[in-house]
């Protein structure tokens, strides 16, 4: 139930993010969502793409260093308090969120959030208990 996220090292300079997007574009790989973490000097771009293996290979071929991690994608009710309910559930079992970001599209009044937990399995269990919908890759990309 986990999905693969690829992350890349990026110098904080004009054009460097675009180079990554161009590489994926040329290979016909769609970016489903991304998030950037940055410092003054450098950043890390995290991407969810369709066909992560090919995405990784293409980026490595282009000379990037690529890291692959498991993340959890969960739907949340697109209403006030929807996210707080999710966070309550994982907080209650003592799981820490290392970072998270949101998907850019909605589906049936639900939003999709991407989490990196320190203990993904425990978090998934807790989220399922409150009825949250955990998405696998095929469901995710069918949206």
């Amino acid at each position: 139930m986990k999905i693969k996220q690829i992350s890349l090292f990026l110098e904080n300079k004009p054009g460097h993010l675009n180079a990554i997007c161009r590489t994926l574009a040329k290979a016909g790989i769609n970016i489903v969502t991304l998030s950037l973490a940055d410092t003054q000097q450098f950043g890390i771009v995290r991407l969810i793409v369709e066909d992560w293996e090919r995405g990784r290979d293409e980026l490595e071929k282009a000379g990037h260093v690529v890291n692959v991690r498991d993340v959890v994608a969960a739907t949340v009710n697109d209403v006030p308090g929807g996210m707080a309910d999710l966070l309550d559930a994982v907080g209650a079992v003592g799981v820490n969120i290392e970072y998270m970001y949101a998907f850019s599209f909605r589906t049936n009044d639900k939003a999709i959030l991407v989490f990196r937990f320190d203990d993904a399995d425990k978090a998934i269990e807790a989220l399922k208990r409150i009825g949250a919908d955990i998405l696998d890759a095929s469901t995710l990309f069918s949206h």
């Binding site: 996220q5 992350s7 460097h16």
Partner: protein, 441 residues
């Protein structure tokens, strides 16, 4: 005793094992002859000896060498191109040049006999490394004016190796030939081998499984024990150190043996002294100083007391391998490379040693020295590797801090460490220049 170290039975290595007395006799006989040759044929040497009031016949013992004038790289530049040649042109059979990072190169001419002396050193180095006529030797040093390529080429052939003269460059083809021809030994600069190693890993080539490579003969630039350990652990080969310089011949002036504790000097050809670079006085064995060579039997461009600018010491005790020829310590620094940062002497090799103590960092880095106001600054750019890259900023920040602290521990100066994208730093297929000093501009 170390790995198969003793090749005393090999006739090629006979001179490595002669008694100390016999060696000193050989050296003294040769010294007298070469001093006479220089005095009679090299005007600059004659002039300087006359200035010091030394005649060739004053050299009665090896210790008398201290009365002879020194030769420096600037002398070779000033006398460019052929002012220091000691024989008529008909006796010269080859030219070599050393790269001139500033201005003119230096030119060295060799007679047939000089080349034989040089190649003898290369052959004895290869024997010392455990290489035989069964080996397939890929020479990935540059061929041409630089002595690395042709030196290892002719040395390898003389020993009976099957030589693959790839020269430098075209790394994909280097890897292909290494694999397809079953190459067992490679000779190149350590930085170029690291480049080959990286490219092979990127292609998923496992050195241990897909190549027969067992030996690397690395030289032409200072490198550290940490780099040696890294190369050996990644590829499973044995990394050997070969030392030399164009001014006194080329690679094969000294070589590590399989004990890997210092480098044996082929002192029947190249007489080593260590001097205090400030007072220019010889120092006792064991003391660190500048390495000086006298070419005992090279006549084309003979060198009396040539100052190498390399910092080392003579290792006072006998090597476990049983060789009687003396050893110098690994050259970890060249006085030329020394940076003076806020009044403190810093060698690039110290920064490299600091970098290598941090796990997960492959050695692609570049040092930038600058001046902000009155303060010298030093910045080390390090390429991020797949191992080091996590998915979080905090792990990269930690890596950056760890590197900075490891280097500071060694040089006692705070430095700036910047992580950069892979393949963004300059690469070299010959000698690596890892320092850019913007203060000089």
């Amino acid at each position: 005793m170390c790995r198969e170290c003793n090749d005393k039975e090999n006739p090629l290595s006979r001179a490595d094992y002669v008694s100390v007395d016999e060696m000193r006799n050989i050296q003294l006989t040769k010294l007298k002859k070469i001093v006479r040759h220089c005095y009679d044929n090299v005007p600059l040497t004659r002039l300087r000896m006359d200035e010091k009031g030394v005649k060739p016949e004053d050299i009665k013992t090896l210790e008398d060498m201290r009365f002879l004038p020194f030769m420096k790289k600037t002398d070779l530049r000033d006398e460019y191109p052929k002012g220091l040649f000691g024989v008529p042109m008909r006796d010269i059979v080859r030219f070599h040049c050393s790269s001139g990072t500033t201005g003119k190169p230096i030119v060295v001419g060799s007679t047939r006999g000089d080349l034989d002396v040089w190649i003898d050193g290369v052959v004895r180095s290869l024997v010392m490394d455990g290489i035989t006529n069964e080996d397939i030797l890929q020479v990935s040093y540059g061929y041409g004016l630089f002595t690395g390529g042709l030196g290892l080429h002719y040395g390898g052939e003389a020993l009976g190796c099957a030589v693959v003269p790839t020269s430098g460059g075209n790394t994909d083809r280097q890897i292909m030939l290494m694999r397809d021809l079953g190459v067992t030994a490679i000779a190149c600069t350590p930085s170029y081998f690291i480049h080959i190693m990286d490219e092979a890993l990127k292609k998923g080539v496992d050195f241990r499984k897909e190549t027969k490579l067992r030996h690397g003969i690395f030289g032409a630039e200072p490198w550290t024990d940490e780099i040696r350990a890294k190369i050996e652990s990644v590829t499973g080969i044995e990394a050997h150190d070969i030392y030399g310089l164009t001014e006194v011949s080329g690679p094969g002036v000294a070589s590590s043996c399989r004990c890997h504790s210092g480098l044996h000097v082929f002192e029947d050809h190249f007489y080593p002294e260590i001097i205090n670079p400030d007072t220019l006085e010889p120092v006792p064995d064991g003391t660190w100083g500048e390495l000086v060579f006298t070419t005992l039997d090279r006549f084309g461009t003979p060198m009396l007391r040539y100052r190498t600018r390399d910092i080392t010491r003579i290792i006072p005790d006998r090597c476990d391998c049983g060789r009687t020829i003396r050893r110098i310590d690994r050259i970890s620094a060249r006085t030329d490379d020394m940076l003076i940062i806020r009044g403190v002497n810093v060698f690039p090799s110290q920064i490299e040693a600091g970098l290598m103590t941090v796990d997960k960092v492959l050695p692609h880095y570049h040092i930038y020295v600058d001046r902000e106001g009155d303060l010298d600054t030093i910045e080390v750019k390090v390429e991020v590797t797949a191992d080091a890259l996590g998915d979080q900023i905090k792990s990269l920040e930690l890596l950056r801090r760890t590197i900075a602290e490891a280097i500071k521990k060694i040089i006692n100066i705070s430095i700036k460490v910047t992580l950069v994208e892979p393949h963004s730093l300059p690469r070299s297929e010959g000698k690596m220049n890892r320092v850019t000093d913007n203060r000089k501009k």
